[in-house]
């Protein structure tokens, strides 16, 4: 129970300490100390009335003690001392309320001056409260690599003066896009993996963002998109094998998540949202309805193509066009897309070719998709399809 509380509180406590200390490493050490003290005392003496306030206060005091001890940080002590003197003693009790500074911390961690993999790792560490060990395992990199990556990012934030602030209006749209991209990347990394539950982690982060930025349509839309995707997670596998959308047992879909996702999407539209996440969430929603409105889906993909210019979007439009206008029309759209390293491009082509009865070409495309796929359910699914088309081409020759 305490562990659960700690995970919930970590981001709040850490953000407040980063705001106070101006350094993520110092803040992390202080927060860890405070949580350790709490873990020892609370079960014995009971939890304080305001656990967040207590944790922040205790961590602040620890940090100040520590800075005083370390003579090399004399300048910082003087600064902090000044700030502390400015703050009257009575507000320093454990009932003190501290402003929520998680939003500042998110924008710091997702600052585009940091490498994308560092943004992702740092966001999970500071706001998600995952350990470096857990993050390393989730991204299949050695602990040492992840640890160095995080340390380097924290030092760059400190030494290059990356701001701990919500960006001003003229920078906000672009910076918010970066934050949303990090969260969505975390979600997709967890999709289908059996490591740390990164999808759940992304949803948690996204919930905080919606809470902190209640007027941002794209923040609502991203959460909607992820919930609608996550709702089908129990139905995506049967006995460890991949099940395609049309074959899924709909009774396994999480209706609560679908309802919440749709409400969030409506809210995003009401906020006059028309960005890429609004469109993607609308498409995800249409895919769950029966019969599927392929015409509307094609239109939305066209809109998304205009916004993103991404060949992956064109590929997805081709799938919808194949349903609406015929397999041949879909296949034609796939030609010349520069997605040779993308496994879903080859598996999509393979599927259309297979359904057109062009088994030899389908076999080659499944082969290329398999070269790009890691062992697991997706690989077994593609191997099954490859075996089918090989039997087909053996019969026809």
């Amino acid at each position: 129970m305490l562990e659960h509380l700690f995970r919930e509180e970590w981001g709040r406590v850490l953000a407040s300490l980063v705001g106070f200390l101006g350094d993520i490493e110092l803040a992390e050490d202080a927060a860890q100390e405070a949580f350790a003290i709490a873990a020892e005392r609370w079960p014995r003496d009971g939890a304080p009335d305001n656990p967040t306030g207590w944790l922040i206060m205790t961590a602040r005091n620890r940090a100040i003690d520590r800075i005083r001890r370390e003579r090399t940080l004399a300048v910082k002590t003087e600064q902090l001392g000044r700030e502390l003197r400015e703050q009257p003693e009575e507000t320093m009790g454990e009932t003190a309320t501290f402003p929520d500074e998680r939003l500042e911390l998110i924008f710091t961690c997702c600052h585009p001056a940091l490498a994308l993999d560092a943004q992702v790792g740092l966001t999970l560490r500071t706001l998600g409260g995952l350990s470096t060990e857990e993050i390393a395992r989730a991204f299949l990199v050695p602990f040492e690599t992840m640890s160095k990556r995080l340390t380097r990012a924290k030092h760059k934030i400190r030494d290059a003066g990356i701001p701990f602030a919500v960006p001003p209006d003229h920078l906000l749209p672009e910076r918010l896009d970066a934050v949303l991209a990090v969260i969505y990347l975390i979600f997709n990394e967890g999709w289908g993996g059996d490591r740390v539950d990164l999808s759940a982690e992304a949803i948690r982060l996204s919930r905080s963002l919606v809470e902190l930025m209640p007027d941002e349509a794209e923040a609502h839309a991203l959460l909607a998109l992820m919930l609608i995707g996550q709702a089908r997670s129990a139905a995506r596998f049967r006995g460890g094998e991949l099940v395609l959308l049309d074959d899924q047992d709909r009774s396994l879909w999480d209706q609560r998540q679908i309802v919440e996702g749709r409400a969030l999407l409506e809210r995003a539209v009401a906020l006059r949202g028309n960005g890429p996440y609004v469109v993607q969430a609308a498409i995800a929603d249409l895919h769950l309805r029966e019969p599927r409105d392929w015409e509307e889906i094609v239109l939305l993909y066209e809109r998304l193509e205009l916004i993103t210019g991404s060949p992956v979007v064109t590929m997805n439009r081709a799938i919808a066009v194949a349903e609406l206008e015929g397999l041949q029309a879909g296949l034609l759209l796939l030609e010349d897309l520069e997605l040779d390293d993308y496994r879903y491009y080859h598996s999509t082509r393979a599927d259309l070719l297979r359904r057109l009865g062009r088994d030899d070409e389908a076999g080659a495309a499944y082969g290329r998709a398999l070269e790009l796929t890691q062992p697991g359910p997706e690989q077994r699914f593609l191997e099954g399809r490859l075996a089918d088309v090989r039997r087909g081409s053996a019969r026809s020759s």
Binding site: A113, A160, G161, I162, P163, P167, L171
Partner: protein, 117 residues
């Protein structure tokens, strides 16, 4: 904080650009350099004038040319005073918007005294 904006130029594009166009760009860049948040700047002579000094076996070893030999070269630097990285990036972006080539590297200035690399 102070930031150094390292101005990188591209030899090939520079040589292709007509002289009056280059003069016009210089004028526009000088407009930015005269602002109060710019605390210092240096424009360097063309990279062909560079000499690199190394030391080998206790003696100076000189090579003709820049340390990093590529078609991109350091053309000068600008020092700006900004509240944080975003402030410095904004000035860099403004300068880069005036130039059709190259790129600008933004580096925070090390302010603590007594540490020599």
């Amino acid at each position: 904080m102070r930031y150094a904006l390292l101005i990188y130029d591209d030899i090939e594009i520079r040589d292709r650009t007509p002289l009056d166009e280059r003069r016009r760009i210089t004028e526009a860049v000088l407009g930015v350099l005269e602002r109060p948040d710019v605390t210092g700047w240096l424009r360097l002579q063309d990279v062909e004038t560079a000499t690199t000094v190394r030391r080998e076996k206790g003696r100076a070893l000189l090579t003709d040319g820049p340390f990093v030999d590529s078609k991109d070269y350091l053309g000068g630097f600008v020092v700006v005073e900004a509240e944080n990285l975003d402030g410095a990036l904004a000035v860099a972006d403004e300068l880069q918007g005036l130039r059709p080539w190259g790129a600008i590297e933004v580096r925070p200035v090390r302010e603590e005294p007594g540490v020599v690399a």
